[in-house]
Point group: C3
Chain length 342, copies 3
């Protein structure tokens, strides 16, 4: 019998400072864009139309930054979270440069923390993951931490290292693409609301729901070459605590981002993933709704034409968000996005 097939890394396989080059670089293409639209219904003009993007000075419509995120995340799964018991959190995520159809993403991670749990069966692994394009520019970076099973409960715990991670990405660290915002077309973008029109504490019910089918989330997971078995292997899923397939949390992020168009159509460019928590599992057949709250509002240093909003995006399962519920929550995401001023 061969030992060539992969069983994934266990907690013991991670050490602080370890660098992991993840397999299978990926050329993103317009086919990925079309599928992302079909899966999410996203309507942000900048990622939908070359004309809109080119008026802003971009080469063409860039890939949705969240589509790129899922591809980068997906490549880290076989090495980082194939044996994960839970995805615990994100921090210090930054979208650093537009990614265009034809660009090739390569992904690597550095282990920045390990801490065995007191039960001796699992541990928490912290990694910082980077996506680079074919010109070796870093286009994305984020930290995440996962609870990973130990191979052997008797193995000795490593020295615990818990990295200090920022509560949120500082405004000074946000990177905006070079853009000619004078050409921003508010008829094409779908709403008149500028950065100036939003206030801290404002809450927006995105109103419309979206129902997720088994085939849809499986196709999303595989499109991202994410190998996490609970999402597409019903035999394996039957043995988990949920007893059935679980929807990839990133698919929920993308659906909610698409829903947030309704009220945030001009929040056209995500620049930071400050944090996030998948509060409860989502299953096929569930209908999700979303609401947003403006957590902070900052001008972008040196830019009179762009402002940033730090947004809390809350997603519920099978419950509309007209009353901004804290119950039935499946996702609580903290991101920063850019909007036109003026």
């Amino acid at each position: 019998m061969s030992m060539k097939s992969w069983t994934g890394n266990f907690f013991e396989d991670f050490a602080v400072g370890q660098e992991i080059v993840h397999a299978t670089p990926r050329t993103v293409n317009t086919g990925d864009v079309a599928l992302y639209t079909a899966l999410t219904g996203s309507r942000f003009a900048v990622t939908s139309a070359d004309s809109f993007a080119q008026a802003l000075g971009l080469r063409s419509a860039p890939i949705d930054p969240w589509l790129a995120f899922h591809m980068v995340f997906g490549k880290s799964v076989p090495d980082v979270s194939f044996n994960a018991v839970a995805n615990l959190g994100y921090a210090e995520g930054r979208f650093l440069a537009p990614i265009y159809p034809g660009d090739t993403l390569s992904v690597s991670s550095t282990v920045i923390g390990v801490r065995e749990n007191s039960n001796g069966k699992t541990g928490v692994v912290y990694v910082r993951t980077s996506g680079t394009n074919q010109a070796r520019e870093t286009v994305m970076q984020f930290a995440r931490w996962v609870m990973v099973a130990k191979r052997d409960p008797a193995s000795v715990a490593p020295e615990p290292v818990v990295p200090e991670l920022a509560d949120h990405v500082a405004v000074a660290d946000l990177l905006a693409p070079t853009l000619d915002m004078a050409a921003y077309d508010f008829a094409a973008s779908g709403e008149p609301h500028r950065w100036d029109d939003y206030t801290v504490g404002e809450r927006i019910d995105h109103r419309v729901g979206i129902t997720i089918e088994e085939a849809e989330h499986q196709m999303a997971t595989r499109l991202y070459q994410n190998t996490a078995r609970p999402h597409y292997d019903a035999h394996y899923a039957a043995g988990t605590r949920f007893g059935k397939r679980l929807i990839y949390g990133g698919h929920v992020i993308s659906l909610a981002r698409a829903l947030s168009f309704n009220g945030l159509a001009n929040a056209f460019w995500p620049v930071a993933l400050n944090g996030g928590r998948h509060a409860a599992p989502v299953f096929a057949g569930d209908t999700i709704h979303a609401w947003s709250e403006v957590l902070a509002k900052d001008p972008l240093p040196g830019r009179a034409d762009l402002g940033s909003l730090r947004l809390r995006l809350v997603v519920t399962s099978n419950r509309p968000c007209v009353d901004f519920p804290e119950e039935d929550m499946v996702l609580d995401l903290d991101t920063t996005v850019l909007l036109p001023r003026g």
Copy 2:
């Protein structure tokens, strides 16, 4: 609480002469083409193979005109029919120019009629919708009318205006692309039948059925960035008269057009949407079949190599069409298509 999110226009929001620029222009790409093939199984050679299209003098395989139609239609939904109770009809639809991967579609509509219903709760809105490409050429135009809810039953009815719409597009108004029909390859196209071989009154059973899954029609609706909730929001759909999700009527048109390849493989270029009626709802799990009848047969003015057929396309649900049924009908569509002569 924010009022920034969209609740759609109500009957009172429409006035004759009003121009609406619809949001989110869309660059159509080969990813959309692949998805359209995967969703419909379409086999028309001109939209499948660059070689076939280029032999005819086209730049490359154009986008299926119905794919473009759904994108144009979809963009009008948030403004025109988000609060529609029913889609009532189409008229004067013309496909005016081939659309290629890389082209960007922008969409606008003009309100051409309004008429409140006697119940005081709804009204009919008539619009003429145009799709233009990045060179500002109009590539498609059609009229449609929808029944829209009133915001306030007590609001005063507007002066009724009902536009005169042609029973069908006149042959003189059909626009054919410039084509070198001598190079039309009947082995590649799949059938030997020319325009000359069809007779008025001829009926064709397209024989094969196709079953629609929930994930498929949801992906189609979202691919077209069509925001009509009954198609993908099961929570909302549960409160409608159907109690469940309803398949976008345009998806049924495209499936039936794909089925019609069997007997009409050389009806390669749709030029007009004369009219149409979604006679009954279609739901996931239904299997549709289709049959066609030749309503009229006209040479194309000034063209010895192309002829037009006006076709009735009838679609049934869960019933084969060997006996050309008028029962179990879900769609009754009136289109004009071009075929090679010779």
Copy 3:
């Protein structure tokens, strides 16, 4: 009533030596690539990343040879197997040249054998099918045989002709693309195992399972423009011996090939389809697993940098493959693939 629509060929319609040009040439594009990834989750680097392929000297990431196979196969279905009772076997399949996005595939078949069955109701038809690109280079060729219904049980049996087909493609007949294997990146490819590391008789459990949804296999079938009704017409399928829709066997091949990445990540280039048997039907909801066995190991003549493995790929339904089962088998495939040496 029109006789224009197609009912497919019956056994009587085939004669040895007959050439059939199949309809609907197809330009393969990056949209097809994205959908193939979404349907299968394939992670082979050479078909995922332009950078990886270009380092080897290829123009860009080629289309997965199995994606091309399904398109070529699909085009032959309306003429060869629309009335097939069973797909019986494959032989002498060779992948002859890389196919790139933008290439157009045209397909034709030659009838190489016919043999009526003793029951007088069906017969076996043998064809050799070729796919060519727009430069008229043959990019793929394979033989297959199917059991086809007779139109009329009373028709006279033809002279039986059963072609001699090789047990497997000889190593001397394998065609490798021109490749610069020195640039093969084992970090990007996902595993360190070279051709030299495999031994004849070695068995590999690919471990992970994959569950198939109705929408997924229907989309695959239609993406390939495969018209075989049992896969997407539930009304028709209800009247078959299975009573429900049957998953296209080629979809199972592609899923298993994608699963085989785990243990065979460097089996990067399929060169031969030696034979195969769809041992049992697969239905929506089934979870498949796969294991491989190395049947033979040969250096590639004149090439010190590439070696070939002849592999048996066994796929099971609803049963993991940790014990390399011969039971619950749905596919038993015999292929030859290339791996880097070194």
